[in-house]
């Protein structure tokens, strides 16, 4: 779908174009910039942006797109908390800072630099902006059969009044296995912009866990995209925690290309005052006998707004597809909002597809029961909210990972109680 030509650019569009121009001439970058100049960012009239009117909601874009100074970078690195022990690649304001100092495990190959990219069309705004702004990233390939035990962490930071864009490309050879932590952090006090596109490909029998932890400041706008192809017998588990950011759009696009592949997406979105968190997933089942299972639990407080768009397309040949999708939301205030849009397009005739969405408040029965046992109203609410969201991660077998995710959730709930 193409957008109509536009007459005037918004302030944010002008600033993105200016930032792109500053990066110097480059054929692809210039082509992307021309597309934005011609069509602008998508508005709610574009179906996939109906609940997140990017053109009107992205009010500003940081003027300063300079990379961080050495001093800033050192300070930032010193202050970065650890999520889990990992082979860490750190990016600040879109520029690679440092990688793991230890010898890399056998079968893990990595090379920093901008990965090849592109975007579908002008409505693919996350990748379009990335094509205009990204100058760095990492290319990782894991050899067939290699099992990388220590997680690989891609840590993205952005300093105040700055922008960050990275493009990564990751491939796993046949039978390879690895886990990745995609982290996004920023300061809370100043406006910033953060953008990442990752292309991930799993060949036959590869097994990946991909963990996205977004804990950016309340003035950071975040546009992220993960594009995946799943080969035969491949397994992918995606865990998402959105616990920060201002205007956030997280896109997950998975092409389920190989028979017997298995995809699981489990996510928690914690939406505070002033935040707008949109998770848009698009699963394309192309091959027979595949499974996909998506579950999201969301909590919105204050005037927080959330969006879930879950598209599942089952191609004619993708018989015996088993696709399930659930999105449950707890609204903790009268001003909070959540929009859930499941979208199923099924061309095969022998499939199982299920979807469900609920939006509720805390139940009075639950609250009274806990209070009648002595818990204060505040503690009772906190316990119920925590239980509601943490169920998503209950099935994680590794205690340390589950505990870390739940600790991040509890930290957010404590600060937004």
């Amino acid at each position: 779908m193409m957008l109509k030509k536009i007459e005037n650019l918004t302030q944010a569009e002008e600033a993105i174009l200016a930032a792109s121009t500053l990066l110097g001439p480059d054929k692809e970058r210039t082509a992307a910039a021309d597309t934005l100049r011609a069509h602008g960012l998508p508005t709610r009239r574009v179906e996939s942006w109906h609940y997140t009117d990017l053109r009107n909601q992205l009010k500003a874009f940081p003027e300063n797109t300079q990379s961080a100074s050495k001093k800033q970078a050192d300070e930032w690195l010193d202050n970065c908390s650890e999520f889990l022990p990992a082979l860490r690649l750190a990016f600040l304001n879109g520029v690679f800072l440092e990688g793991p100092t230890e010898v890399l495990p056998a079968g893990l190959n990595l090379q920093t630099g901008l990965a090849n990219g592109g975007y579908r069309d002008a409505t693919d705004a996350v990748a379009l902006i990335n094509s205009m702004l990204a100058v760095d990233g990492v290319k990782i390939s894991i050899d067939a059969g290699a099992a990388i035990n220590e997680p690989v962490e891609l840590l993205h930071g952005v300093t105040g009044d700055s922008a960050s864009a990275c493009r990564h490309s990751i491939t796993l050879g046949a039978g390879a296995s690895a886990s990745f932590i995609e982290r996004h952090i920023s300061e809370s006090s100043q406006p910033a912009f953060s953008n990442t596109v990752t292309d991930l490909s799993l060949e036959k029998g590869a097994n990946v866990r991909w963990i996205i932890v977004q804990e950016e400041g309340e003035h950071t706008n975040h546009l992220g995209q993960l594009n995946v192809t799943l080969g035969e017998d491949a397994r992918l588990e995606i865990l998402i925690l959105n616990a920060g950011g201002a205007l956030v759009r997280r896109e997950i696009n998975v092409a389920v290309l190989g028979p017997n592949s298995d995809l699981s997406i489990r996510g928690v979105n914690l939406i505070g005052e002033g935040a707008h968190i949109d998770v848009t997933t698009s699963l394309l089942h192309e091959a027979p006998d595949t499974i996909s299972n998506e579950i999201f639990r969301n909590v919105a407080t204050g005037n927080g707004k959330g969006v879930f768009q879950g598209e599942i397309r089952v191609a004619k040949d993708a018989q015996k597809t088993d696709a399930r999708m659930a999105c449950n939301t707890l609204l903790l205030s009268d001003e909070a909002e959540y929009s859930a849009k499941p979208e199923l397009e099924i061309f095969a005739d022998d499939v199982q597809c299920a979807h469900g969405a609920t939006v509720t408040d805390i139940l009075d029965d639950h609250l009274f029961y806990l209070r009648a046992r002595g818990l204060s109203e505040r503690d009772a609410r906190a316990l119920l909210v925590k239980a509601f969201v943490e169920e998503v991660f209950d099935e994680i077998e590794e205690d340390d990972l589950r505990d870390k995710l739940n600790a991040r959730i509890e930290n957010w709930l404590d600060n937004h109680g």
Binding site: F368, Y369, L370, R371, A372, R373, G374, E377, A387, E390
Partner: protein, 253 residues
């Protein structure tokens, strides 16, 4: 000592706007087991919710004194910490909250509210194991989410376990016998009897005399149309079992 003194209590359910408790008087001494019996719709559950302080149950007139103090301005959690326990007719299922974690949160919240030191985990586990054993509750069951997937009997035993651990002074038991088979009823009654003490009072609300064969009451009160219309000893329960409520209701009219 009088544990509970209810004087001319009137309670209205806000949502429905109707007055369900209508000038109820009741006095229960420390050490006493008082049974409240009544037909459906007489106000039994409303009375239990009003005592526990549930939102939406508005007291329009009267007083409820617990150990001589009016509790009507207290929140449910304050009443709990002061020693009032409501055993629910339908214990609520709460997914995602492990029973054992809930027990610890409840015990320590009450202790904190009373200015007492919180229990350490080993102290807590020791107490739970001891109390759970005598109620035939396994530690496995306590790791499950609170009441989720519990059978009717398991839910009621879990209520009695909470009562045993929280050591309240006034136990209000709302139709504890509903949904129990005879074996479960026996276990629950034994649990209650083990907690009977000169410092503790029970208000046992029930529809049937069956429970009172196992928990023998000191006094029996007939609740009808939001008021106590007859009081007596345990023989009154036997009379009700045999003849029903009709003659007593007719007398009161």
């Amino acid at each position: 000592m009088t544990m509970l003194e209810i004087k001319n209590l009137h309670v209205r359910i806000e949502e429905e706007g109707t007055e369900i408790i209508n000038g109820l008087n009741l006095s229960v001494k420390a050490g006493e087991v008082a049974a409240i019996m009544g037909p459906n719709g007489s106000g039994k559950s409303t009375l239990s919710y009003a005592l526990a302080g549930r939102d939406g149950y508005e007291v329009t007139e009267g007083e409820v004194l617990f150990k001589g103090e009016n509790i009507l301005d207290m929140d449910p959690e304050e009443r709990a910490a002061s020693g009032i326990f409501l055993a629910f007719q339908y214990p609520v299922e709460i997914p995602g909250v492990a029973t054992i974690n809930f027990l610890k949160a409840a015990m320590n919240s009450q202790r904190k509210a009373r200015g007492e030191a919180e229990f350490t985990t080993p102290e807590f586990i020791r107490m739970v194991k001891e109390a759970a054993g005598s109620l035939n509750i396994s530690m496995e069951m306590l790791k499950r989410p609170l009441n989720v997937g519990f059978s009717g009997g398991e839910k009621k035993r879990a209520e009695i376990l909470q009562m045993a651990l929280l050591q309240p002074q006034l136990c209000v038991m709302d139709e504890t016998d509903s949904g129990l088979d005879i074996d479960a009823l026996k276990i629950v009654a034994d649990g209650v009897n083990a907690l009977r003490s000169p410092d503790r009072a029970f208000v046992v609300i029930t529809h049937y005399q069956r429970l009172l064969q196992h928990i023998v009451p000191d006094s029996v009160h007939v609740l009808y149309d939001g008021r106590i219309i007859r009081s007596g000893d345990k023989d009154l329960a036997l009379h009700l079992e045999e003849f029903g409520y009709a003659d007593i209701i007719a007398d009161a009219a």
